[in-house]
């Protein structure tokens, strides 16, 4: 197993290189000049020239790339053009926020999606199944920004139960932290839960019609044991893969949701950086997100093996 993980991590390096080249060149294709955007309304020529020099923007693009890559290798992700802060510091500031939001959204979506999926599969083609499907479809179809604003108006403005927006670190004030995160996590979870529910349902349907389930029923096991111990564990595999991939996506940040609930996570950081042509920040965030995604993929594969002993032989 360690050899397998090591191999996978080695393969990740060229992937990351390709991603970084891709992002770097795409950014250079964007119209607009970062220095103009940051020189201020007056756009003083001396300042502009100084800034171009400082951020190596006068060099040819390949030289800029090598320069940037050299920094990364030594742990220097560059400096934000907009705020003068080191990019690594910015990323580290946002990472816990994004992870917390992702974990909470994932938990909520699994708590909704898995029971609904099992129920829909067991009660296939009954009213319960249809209701579960309709709920899932609605969750997937309702736009996040709309649901977010509606929730703020209902829960915060009218009922006054939760703060309308903002963020508090979980290490400083855990209660308030959960309070501010619960609505955005729920908004994100509505769409995810739908996907989890659909996957759980189809996986369960596949398993429930298998011979060994009929055997289990025939030998007199309770429906509860048949469904939870025998069917669900086997149906879990595709759900685990899906969860890991969805989680990887969440790590890229949830732009609209973060914007509406003013959560200072990756999504907002990236969008602000793109609008300000803050190249170093965009590159830093994309790289981190890519690493997160690759790790999640790896985790999914490892879990697969752990859950399904038959796969261990293939390693």
């Amino acid at each position: 197993m360690p050899v397998y993980i090591g191999k996978r991590l080695l393969v990740a390096i060229p992937t990351l290189l390709i991603i970084s080249i891709f992002v770097f060149s795409l950014q250079k294709l964007l119209p607009g000049d970062p220095i103009l955007a940051m020189a201020g309304e007056e756009r003083d020529p001396a300042t502009i020239e100084f800034l171009r020099e400082k951020y190596h923007l006068n060099d040819p693009v390949p030289v800029q790339y090598v320069h940037w890559l050299g920094g990364i290798v030594t742990g220097d992700f560059g400096i934000s053009l907009r705020t003068n802060q080191p990019v690594l510091e910015l990323v580290m500031q946002k990472l816990p926020v994004t992870i917390q939001l992702a974990v909470m959204a994932m938990i909520i979506s699994l708590m909704i999606g898995i029971p609904m999926g099992i129920l829909a599969a067991v009660k296939k083609n009954t009213v319960l199944d249809y209701i579960a499907n309709i709920v899932a479809l609605s969750g997937l179809s309702v736009p996040n920004f709309w649901l977010g604003i509606m929730l703020i108006l209902l829960v915060s403005v009218n009922l006054g139960w939760l703060p309308a927006s903002g963020y508090e670190s979980i290490f400083v004030d855990p209660v308030r932290s959960i309070q501010t995160m619960i609505m955005p996590a729920f908004v994100l979870a509505t769409a995810l839960a739908a996907q989890v529910m659909r996957h759980t349902r189809s996986a369960m349907l596949g398993v429930l019609s298998a011979d060994y389930i009929r055997t289990a029923r025939a030998k007199g096991l309770s429906p509860r044991e048949v469904i939870l111990s025998h069917s669900f564990r086997n149906a879990l595999l595709p759900v685990v893969t899906l969860t890991a991939l969805l989680f990887g996506e969440l790590l890229a940040g949830a732009v609209l949701t973060e914007q509406i609930f003013t959560i200072p996570g990756f999504g907002k950081l990236t969008v602000d950086a793109v609008f300000n042509r803050d190249y170093a920040v965009v590159q830093g965030v994309v790289l981190c997100t890519a690493v997160g995604f690759i790790l999640m993929n790896l985790l999914a594969d490892v879990l697969y093996v752990l859950l399904n002993p038959r796969l261990r032989a293939t390693l």
């Binding site: 103009l36 309304e41 756009r43 907009r82 802060q85 500031q93 604003i149 403005v157 309308a164 903002g166």
Partner: protein, 503 residues
């Protein structure tokens, strides 16, 4: 259920214990997240709002736009307007406890002029040198007469920072700014909040009634207002015009507005590169026709729900610098048609570059249909802001919708846009006579003389129309009823001196 019960009980107990120390804390919602918090380097409008609470300036601006004392108590111009002497307030301390004196002023101004990262260089371009002529007196010597310097010193260029902190932190001063304002820096979380607390040694502390102020950037106007209504914020800036009516009706909220000192306008490419070579850029009659075909009052009513004012000059009709002999033109389609015919055209195609936000887009769609009646076929090109700025600078546009946030001195609203070598003259309009008038206006310490010069330049510009001014928005603030003593100012700043909050 049990742990939740315990938790609730603990929280309640905490709330009651904390209650006796009644401290006034104000939470203000901003539209954007400020950039670096160094007066020498920053460039955002919201950054200036934070400085207003944190960094005192040599001089301040009153709500009627007069320059008033702040860290400088009095000042004098030499008769040739090339020397400015200022007497400084005594007994002022910076947030780190160091004393404010003439040396600190000299250090700050020199930092603003010399720090490589400084964005204040052009604002202080006329300064030859600044020197201490006593413990509490400084003298600015200028390269050329420039009375607008005083207005520059009423903003970031005149914010005096602790020389000790500036020395230690250098270009990283923004990570922990140390000024001499009513509130001192506590912490900042990027894109989340900036926290300041009352500075106990502030020279005017008896006029400060707020103990702690937190600025929270919330870009979405609907969400900003929802936060105010939900009680999570106490005050918000830049309320959307479309929400004005509902806030006015709300018995729990204050509504305050004032016409700002900036402008909304259309920039014409007069001579900026190859794309200027078109009838619209070459023939002023077409620009006059375009301007005449616009109903500015209707724009204000439809797009800004009556909160803006129509305008045709770089300063709003409410400004003392507005030329009353050139009133906002009424819409006249017939005259516009006649002008187009005189220029030898039937229909004139024009490409108009618009920032991709809904309000600007709506406004320009209305303009598009208004001028169509006169004979202009306008195609709108929606462009993301950083790109628009770039295109405008490089001259890759025909007509561009652009705003200016405005400056206290009229010079700041006109000189650099219109003068031949002007730093942000994107139209590349150049007229020696206008240049002469604008430079003369800079050199006179007599406001009446200055007004004459600006009026004369205004007449020429109103004829040539390199920039077609459309109007002036209002700054709109909404706050809880418990917030009292806030005076709206046309510069859009939130001055917390005198503000009380009974939450």
């Amino acid at each position: 259920m049990k742990p939740i019960f315990k938790l609730t009980a603990a929280l309640l107990a905490g709330a009651f214990l904390a209650f006796p120390a009644a401290s006034a804390e104000l939470r203000i919602g901003l539209q954007d997240d400020p950039d670096v918090l160094d007066p020498a380097q920053s460039r955002t409008f919201v950054g200036r709002i934070v400085y207003t609470a944190m960094c005192d300036k040599l001089v301040d601006v009153s709500p009627d736009l007069k320059i008033v004392p702040q860290l400088a108590t009095e000042w004098n111009w030499s008769s040739d307007a090339k020397e400015l002497t200022m007497k400084l307030r005594e007994g002022v301390k910076f947030h780190d406890g160091t004393d404010f004196d003439a040396k600190a002023v000299v250090a700050t101004i020199e930092r603003n002029m010399k720090l490589p990262e400084s964005r204040r260089k052009s604002e202080l371009a006329s300064v030859e040198k600044v020197e201490a002529v006593g413990g509490y007196e400084v003298k600015f010597t200028l390269k050329a007469p420039d009375v607008t310097l005083l207005a520059q010193l009423s903003d970031r260029a005149g914010m005096i920072v602790s020389p000790k902190a500036a020395e230690e932190l250098g270009a990283n001063f923004g990570n922990h700014p140390v000024c001499a304002g009513p509130f001192k820096f506590v912490e900042r979380i990027q894109q989340d909040r900036i926290v300041l607390e009352k500075f106990q040694d502030y020279w005017n502390k008896d006029n400060v009634f707020i103990d702690k102020v937190t600025y929270l950037p919330i870009p979405d106007t609907t969400v900003r207002l929802a936060n105010l209504r939900a009680g999570d914020l106490d005050m918000i800036e830049r309320l959307a015009a479309t929400d004005a009516a509902s806030v006015k009706e709300d018995a729990k909220l204050n509504y305050q507005a004032v016409v700002n000192i900036g402008y909304m306008a259309l920039y014409t490419n007069i001579a900026n590169g190859a794309r200027a070579d078109n009838p619209f850029g070459k023939d002023k009659r077409l620009r006059q026709a375009f301007s005449l075909a616009i109903d500015r009052d209707a724009l204000n009513q439809i797009v800004y729900e009556g909160t803006a004012v129509a305008g045709n000059q770089p300063y709003p009709p409410t400004s003392p610098w507005y030329n009353k002999d050139l009133p906002v033109p009424a819409r006249d389609v017939e005259k516009a048609k006649a002008l187009i015919q005189e220029a030898g055209f039937e229909r004139v195609p024009v490409e108009l570059q618009v920032p991709n936000n809904p309000v600007a887009a709506q406004m320009m769609q209305i303009v598009q249909s208004m001028v169509a009646e006169a004979g202009f076929d306008v195609s709108l090109k929606s462009t993301e802001f950083a790109t628009l700025l770039d295109e405008q600078t490089r001259g890759n546009y025909q007509l561009s919708r652009s705003d200016w946030s405005g400056r206290i001195d009229p010079d700041g609203n006109i000189h650099q846009f219109i003068s031949c070598g002007g730093g942000i003259n994107d139209t590349k309009y150049c007229n020696a006579e206008v240049d002469k008038l604008l430079n003369e206006a800079r050199a006179s310490t007599d406001d009446a003389v200055r007004k004459e010069k600006y009026d004369a330049a205004g007449v020429i510009l109103n004829e040539d129309l390199p920039i077609i001014y459309l109007g002036h928005q209002s700054w709109i603030w909404a706050s809880k009823k418990g917030v009292t003593g806030f005076v709206p100012s046309p510069d859009g700043m939130i001055r917390l001196q005198g503000v009380k909050f009974d939450g």
